[in-house]
Amino acid sequence: MTEEPFRTEEDREFGFETRQLHAGQRPDPNTGARAVPIFQTTSYVFEDPESAAAYFNLQEYGNTYSRIMNPTVAVFEERVANLEGGMGAVAFSSGIAAQAAALFTLLQPGDHVVSSGALYGGTVNQFKHLLRKMNVALTWVDPDDPEAWRAAVRPETKAFFAETIGNPSGNVLDIETVATIAHEHRIPLLVDNTFATPYLCRPIDWGADIVIHSATKFIGGHGTSIGGVVVEAGTFDWSNGRFPVIADPSPAYHGLRFHETFGTYGYLMKLRAETLRDLGGALSPFNAFLFLQGLETLSLRMERHVSNALAVASFLRDHELASNVTYPGLPDSRYRPLVEKYLPRGAGAVFSFDCAGGRTGGQDLIRGVTLWSHLANVGDAKSLIIHPASTTHRQLGDEELRAAGVAPGTVRLSVGTESIDDLIWDLRQGFAKVAASDGRA
């Protein structure tokens, strides 16, 4: 038998650790570069007028302008899509931009969204104010109550939204149950998987249709860059009658019916060719490069993040000046069955607890630590600490704080990958300061 003039690739199921290093990238055909090249270019020279037309008409996969696509960003997009088990992904300049774009693509004025009420504050703001401004109605539900999701559905409901692990109260979403309810009503489930990362949980495996990340957090992992990404499973039927905004001829794309023409790619094509084109918010190639560097070690970092988080949470649970430790990975957490099902490798590394002494106690703890960084971010390899009552929620009185699920002494931690003994040593320093003020020392 003569050798074939091409090499066939086996359709192998590669492991997560292999894919976090390789997915989305092949050695650069022009140079052989092994690392992902940073294509710091705004635009791309066309071969000829026919090629240019084919790219703009979406008849051929081609680069036109870096607001819409970029080869470095594309490696990042494919890698995240691969790790999440999705059909594809589109990257954005922040997690908030990604979320806005994911919703903009499927919503129109008069629509309705059902959302978990236990969300990151930035998302609450975006939904509460921006959606209403766009004449989209919103219902907050208790994410832990499946019947609340079902009861909130209206004829004009177009999306369910929740976080895999809620920020900051650590509730774990029953993804499969909520996805089933969504699909019974021909509605997609959108899940923010930032706190879990695809290493700890892949929501698409459990029925989620769209997964959103703030890549700023664990994906980047080193606190260097702001960015976000939207992954779609590619299995939702956008032609089910509920989504004319995707199924009908698009006036913004010369009458193209995105779902009919592109099938499983329809939503992603519209997300890129219309929403990203029109809202902007493109990810910079340099940030994509830094996120790719982060992804190469995602599994290694997450293993350490979750083992450190469990150790810190256990220390706090047993500490007399700490209470209400919300880490869902603790054995006695009420989310234990959901953690075992959805997060068997660990329940993330961000949670909160209440420090004795209320508002003053929380502030003293922050003053007392010297290794934990006092700042407003999570998901860095370095351990982070913040006291919401004196920062993000500073304008609220004690009553209003309680309504927001934050006590005056609540402290949020993002547990990093340092030596665990050092993290606990530092918290002890903080608690010594709290105790001194409290008259307990």
Partner: protein
């Protein structure tokens, strides 16, 4: 649901894509916004000879359109089907009759009898897959728009 995995074999898909020259597109639309036209246009750009098979048109994409596979006056490497699933057995019989190399059924064009006829007639059979997507996955630039090609390789290939 029938198991289609035997008609979605990666090696078969790559062999068909790499060896074919002529693609008869059954059900190719003359409407530039339809999926079949997108696929035909793409294949032409990648140097395949596209032969439209559509009795309602005389010419599509600059090529003569034939009423059926039997009317095509040259050898066909791939019969690429964009018709309703129940039309498949007839198309498969014709594909065998004209000695085509492969039967490639697009998304949703699933008909067991048609698959069997083509297979027994010695054709390579690919079902519920898009020819454009598979070409773009293995040869083209699907990854340029962030789609998941599922490819993992450290082999350096030629210019794109």
């Amino acid at each position: 649901m029938t198991d289609l995995s035997r008609y979605q074999d990666a090696a078969t898909i790559q062999r068909v894509i790499h060896t074919a020259r002529t693609v008869a597109v059954v059900g190719l639309s003359g409407n530039a916004l339809r999926a079949s036209y997108f696929v035909g246009y793409y294949l032409q750009r990648h140097h395949y000879r596209v032969i439209p098979v559509n009795p309602r048109e005389t010419q599509i994409l600059g090529e003569t359109s034939y009423p059926s596979l039997r009317d095509v006056p040259e050898k066909i490497d791939i019969v690429n089907v964009f018709r309703a699933p129940d039309a498949l057995p007839g198309i498969a019989r014709e594909a065998v009759e004209v000695g085509a190399g492969a039967l490639w059924c697009q998304f949703g064009v699933v008909n067991e009898e048609g698959n069997r006829i083509a297979e027994e007639g010695g054709l390579a059979v690919v079902v519920d897959r898009c020819l454009k997507i598979e070409h773009a996955r293995y040869v083209g630039r699907m990854n340029w728009l962030g789609f998941n090609t599922r490819r993992i390789t450290s082999v350096r290939t030629g210019l794109q």
